[in-house]
């Protein structure tokens, strides 16, 4: 496999992204969005699309940049650093990867629309409080030539803003089985689909989706009937790797803000960064971030090289990212002292996003168990 070192192209991409986001989407934007009840900034998302980010995983034939998952991870990481909100992971990573694997003409049209920033997708997957895709119980019942979907999806990221939804439904089998799951690609304003916005601590777009006899045609089945999970799993893995990368960025952002504070803040007539106990904790945190960065780079590389064998690499990345960002935000808030507890200060936003991102698409325990299974125990 290629080295885990960044290529020159990747470094250029990172530098460009970092520069752009520092200007266009500093943490202050998240605060403004929150205070104005806006889950993300549509103008910003358009700019990202113009830079090719929305099409980072889309083939050139559909107008995409086709830069691969390592590049997508770099973008997600940089967005995490400034907590920039966008439908990037839902739409440009998860939906795009799934649609690309579906390889239908309809899917290709959708990919072009995603790339151009005209179309936002959400993925309606989990139904309970924890990530467990095979437990899908939302039913798609045969009705004439089509289907009728009934059930509830919890915690659909970007579910409020999406124009289309990939929804995993059960057409056969029972909870816990992959067989019998079918993937539908339907418009989000279809009759009977009720979206309830959830006020989450990270101030982003999350919705509960209630499917009250929602009709779907046979053409709206993506991939094969009863075998939709094989297809969506590719998108979910890509999403897990991207969320892991975002969390690495969140950790890095919190760490950077904290070390900056340690260097500037004085107490007991000393810069607090000169206190050895804090130094050792900051150094340990840095070490954890470095080690996690390797797992993130590896997940991107493996997804690009051997996407069908990426399970271990992706779960390793998400497990490490969840643990590392947790440490980073806890240390960040504690080391900021009282000021870190105030809403007026930004470090709290990192803690809130870390919590949601760690949960999304599987937490540490879920992914550590996947690693263990892949490693034979």
């Amino acid at each position: 496999m290629t080295s885990l070192l960044e290529t020159e192209d990747e470094t250029m991409l990172r530098d460009a992204a970092r520069g752009f986001l520092a200007d266009a989407a500093p943490v202050a934007n998240l605060r403004a969005n929150r205070d104005q009840g806006r889950p993300f900034d549509t103008g910003l998302w358009r700019e990202m699309a113009q830079m090719g980010w929305a099409g980072v995983l889309v083939p050139e034939a559909q107008g995409g940049a086709d830069m691969g998952h390592r590049a997508a991870g770099i973008l997600a990481e940089e967005m995490g650093r400034t907590l920039a909100a966008s439908p990037f992971i839902s739409s440009a990573v998860m939906a795009a990867t799934t649609l690309r694997a579906a390889a239908s003409q309809q899917a290709e049209q959708a990919l072009t629309a995603i790339t151009e920033g005209r179309l936002i997708y959400a993925v309606a997957l989990d139904e309970g409080r924890k990530h467990a895709p095979l437990n899908t119980a939302l039913v798609a019942q045969k009705a004439g030539n089509g289907f009728r979907l009934t059930g509830t999806k919890a915690f659909v990221a970007d579910g409020g803003s999406a124009q289309r939804v990939l929804v995993l439904a059960r057409t056969a089998g029972s909870a816990g089985e992959a067989a019998g799951l079918t993937l539908f690609d339907i418009p989000a304003d279809r009759a009977g689909l009720h979206k309830m916005a959830r006020a989450t601590v990270d101030s982003r777009d999350h919705a509960q989706m209630v499917f009250d006899g929602v009709e779907a045609t046979g053409d709206e089945v993506l991939g094969t009937l009863d075998d939709g999970w094989a297809l969506l799993a590719r998108g979910v893995q890509a999403g897990q790797a991207a969320v892991a990368a975002e969390l690495l960025g969140v950790a890095g952002g919190a760490y950077g803000m904290t070390v900056g504070y340690l260097k500037e803040r004085k107490q007991f007539d000393r810069t607090i960064g000169s206190f050895q106990a804090l130094q050792h904790r900051a150094a340990h945190l840095w070490a954890e971030i470095e080690v996690t960065a390797s797992a993130i780079a590896n997940a991107g590389r493996v997804l690009d090289a051997t996407p069908t064998q990426a399970g271990l690499a992706v779960s390793l990345a998400k497990a490490r990212a969840a643990q590392t960002v947790d440490l980073a935000v806890r240390e960040g808030v504690q080391m900021h002292g009282g000021i870190g507890m105030t809403d007026a200060y930004d470090i709290g936003f990192y803690m809130k996003r870390a919590r949601v991102g760690s949960e999304w698409l599987g937490d540490y325990g879920y992914h550590a168990a996947q690693v263990a299974a892949a490693r034979g125990f």
Partner: protein, 396 residues
């Protein structure tokens, strides 16, 4: 009568009194922060029962059971007060009155104040008439509490106070504040501080609430803008407690109290149920080995910590102080509580991250625990105290 028999008799007597004095509707109600009776000029009871109960307690000195009768207390012994608290808990009766005046100002005045100061300030506290807040922290000082910049200039008959306090709980609802102010700018940091009592109604005092990451909070910023504080509120009743420029001694004395109170917050949080039981309500949570192992670890530590609180309390009640070791309670209790909430958040998954989700106020409570290891002295300061004063390790 041997001592234990006397205490048994007291237990019966006080239980009978509680049952007769505390209106029945108050008994057995869940106690939340919203049900606390704080008192003060701006105070409004939620119902008449609260008022009835408070006044009955005032009449018997039971709002401040261990304070001397002449200052509004009941003059109980340590052992008697413990029995009173035990009976309150057993009968599920709420405390008739809570306040910073009872918790903090009282101990300070009883230890350092003049007779006239005690009479003037403690009686209204025990009667729920005056509500106090505490003005220690300042912006930019953080853990370095002695870094007091709010200054009080000596203007002959009064002090002229200018500066700003932060983290003053309920300052917007308090009538008076006890504050650390700098009365000598040339003295070493700890030597020029005085412990001053200031009427919040004085012209130039303003407050502003602080929003936390967890949402609304009782914390305020408090500003002093050319506030005139009389040197004396009456004969032998100066506005400064203890000696001028020696206020740090009083602050240190009170910090020990505060630490014990905050560290104790980790107990009884789940209404007597174990953490594992609460998590067991969430389908499948305890099947995850990571969650199970962590729940076991926290349960073990929480039980042992509760015993430690008990042991330290017994030691204090036996008249042997716990001194700087109280820093351990603060440190351990708040860190443990943070761990507990992290696990609860994780087990409740995506439902937990909603501000008003199916688990009620879990998210804001989780964020609020993060402040516990900062307020009242950070965990780092507690570890410093243990290292230097208990372990007697050398200064760096």
């Amino acid at each position: 009568m041997p001592e234990t028999a006397a205490l048994d008799a007291f237990r019966t007597e006080i239980a009978v009194w509680i049952l007769s004095a505390c209106p029945a509707p108050l008994l057995g109600r869940p106690m939340g922060e919203d049900r606390i009776v704080w008192g003060g000029r701006k105070w409004q009871f939620q119902d008449d029962d609260q008022k009835t109960w408070m006044q009955a307690a005032i009449a018997r000195g039971m709002t401040a059971p261990r304070w001397p009768v002449e200052y509004g207390g009941a003059g109980l012994s340590r052992a008697e007060e413990k029995i009173y608290r035990e009976e309150l808990e057993r009968l599920q009766a709420p405390p008739p009155l809570e306040s910073f005046g009872l918790w903090m100002l009282g101990p300070a005045l009883l230890e350092f104040g003049t007779h006239a100061q005690k009479l003037a300030h403690l009686l209204p506290v025990t009667r729920g008439e005056i509500r106090w807040c505490q003005g220690y922290s300042e912006p930019g000082a953080g853990s370095d509490l002695a870094n007091v910049q709010t200054r009080a200039e000596d203007m002959g008959d009064h002090w002229l106070v200018n500066g700003q306090k932060i983290w003053t709980s309920y300052a917007d609802r308090a009538d008076w504040i006890f504050a650390l102010v700098r009365t000598d700018r040339d003295a070493p940091k700890h030597k020029g501080i005085s412990f001053m009592l200031i009427d919040m109604n004085s012209p130039g005092v303003t407050t502003r609430p602080i929003q936390l990451i967890s949402g609304k909070s009782p914390f305020c910023e408090t500003f002093f803008d050319n506030v005139k504080v009389p040197k004396s509120y009456g004969e032998d009743n100066p506005s400064v407690v203890g000696q001028v420029n020696r206020g740090w001694d009083i602050a240190k004395y009170l910090l020990t109290h505060e630490r014990e109170m905050i560290g104790g917050g980790a107990r009884g949080l789940l209404g007597g149920r174990s953490l594992g039981q609460v998590l067991g309500d969430l389908d499948g949570a305890m099947d995850d080995p990571v969650t199970r192992a962590e729940a076991m670890r926290i349960e073990v530590n929480a039980l042992a910590f509760a015993m430690t609180m008990e042991r330290y309390k017994d030691q204090a009640e036996a008249g042997r102080g716990v001194g700087n070791a109280s820093a351990m309670l603060k440190y351990y209790g708040t860190e443990l509580n943070k761990e507990r909430y992290e696990l609860l958040m994780s087990a409740a998954g995506s439902e937990a991250v909603e501000w008003d989700g199916p688990h009620g106020s879990l998210a804001p409570e989780w964020l609020r625990t993060k402040a516990n290891s900062i307020e009242g002295g950070t965990s780092e300061v507690m570890l410093d105290i243990i290292a230097k004063r208990v372990l007697e390790l050398p200064n760096s």
